[in-house]
Symmetry: C2
Subunit: 181 residues, 2 copies
């Protein structure tokens, strides 16, 4: 069966058991947001215990605090009422395995096969992660904490998810930097 058919069959089952979820508010009931990686091994609703209606979930390559994540978090707070944000990066992240130059070389090598020009890859920062995940997490939490539109009333948390155990591990340094007032 194709991906499309499998997804639509699963969706049919989900809709058949939808119950009263159509009445949920678009304001997160538990007033928090989670930022994490797109990694296929991570299911934040499962590993953090979220039901539909509970919380915002924002995901990108690396669970990085990019401008787009900040845009999303600011809307989450100002328009939809969250006041607590969890930045959750993870062990053995694919973003630790390469540099921007290596990524650009891969696009260049692939481009010939695909019949496309890979020059655009030189204009993209793929945001690979250097150093340890906790070092990167602390930097990202600090970057967010110091954004001029993030008020002190927001608490920012920093956790590392262990892909080998399913466990969330707190980063004390990220917590210290991310604490609100």
């Amino acid at each position: 069966m194709s991906n499309v058919n499998e997804i639509l069959a699963a969706n049919e089952d989900y809709a058949a058991e939808f119950g009263d979820k159509g009445a949920l508010s678009h304001d997160p009931a538990r007033r928090f947001a989670i930022v994490t990686c797109m990694d296929c091994r991570l299911d934040p609703a499962k590993f953090a215990g979220l039901l539909e209606g509970d919380a915002h979930v924002i995901r990108n390559a690396g669970g990085r605090v990019t401008a787009d994540v900040i845009r999303s978090l600011l809307i989450s707070y100002e328009m939809l009422g969250t006041n607590e944000w969890f930045i959750i990066q993870h062990t053995h992240c694919g973003m630790q395995g390469f540099t921007n130059e290596e990524a650009r070389a891969r696009f260049a090598a692939d481009a010939a096969k695909q019949g496309i020009d890979a020059v655009e890859a030189h204009y993209i920062d793929f945001m690979p992660i250097s150093g340890t995940i906790e070092e990167n997490l602390v930097r990202d939490v600090s970057h967010l904490r110091h954004h001029p539109l993030v008020p002190a009333a927001i608490t920012i948390h920093g956790y590392v998810y262990d892909v080998h155990t399913g466990r969330l591990i707190v980063s004390e340094e990220a917590e210290r930097i991310g604490a609100g007032k």
Copy 2:
């Protein structure tokens, strides 16, 4: 109980039942990626039938095809082997309810109370959605289809998720534009 304690208690239960998921590959087994909105009502693993290890999930405010989403999708394809991407926006999206100017006015009004300066909000495009969700979806799929680093071998799909029924509704125009070769 605080959000932190509730999340950690749920995570304890998840880790206790983790089974053999620690052996999963970081390459998505089903070789596709889903882009969707951060909205609290959406659980893409549930509405599309994903298990841990299956697929990348990328989420931001609106499920918009931003530069950060394109960065993530390019890594998903070039580094981690996906070749089919689903852009899934949804009915009654909070991003349809305001303009950039209205968002900036809200930050300005809030800033005085928070003791911060809201000038930075004038330098952020919050990417509110104008027109219908399907018009926006078609634009976003077209934007992605025409990106110079997206090869024809990638199939791009466009769906709208109905928050009142839990159902995925295909956009024929987005599918036509997004089709690969």
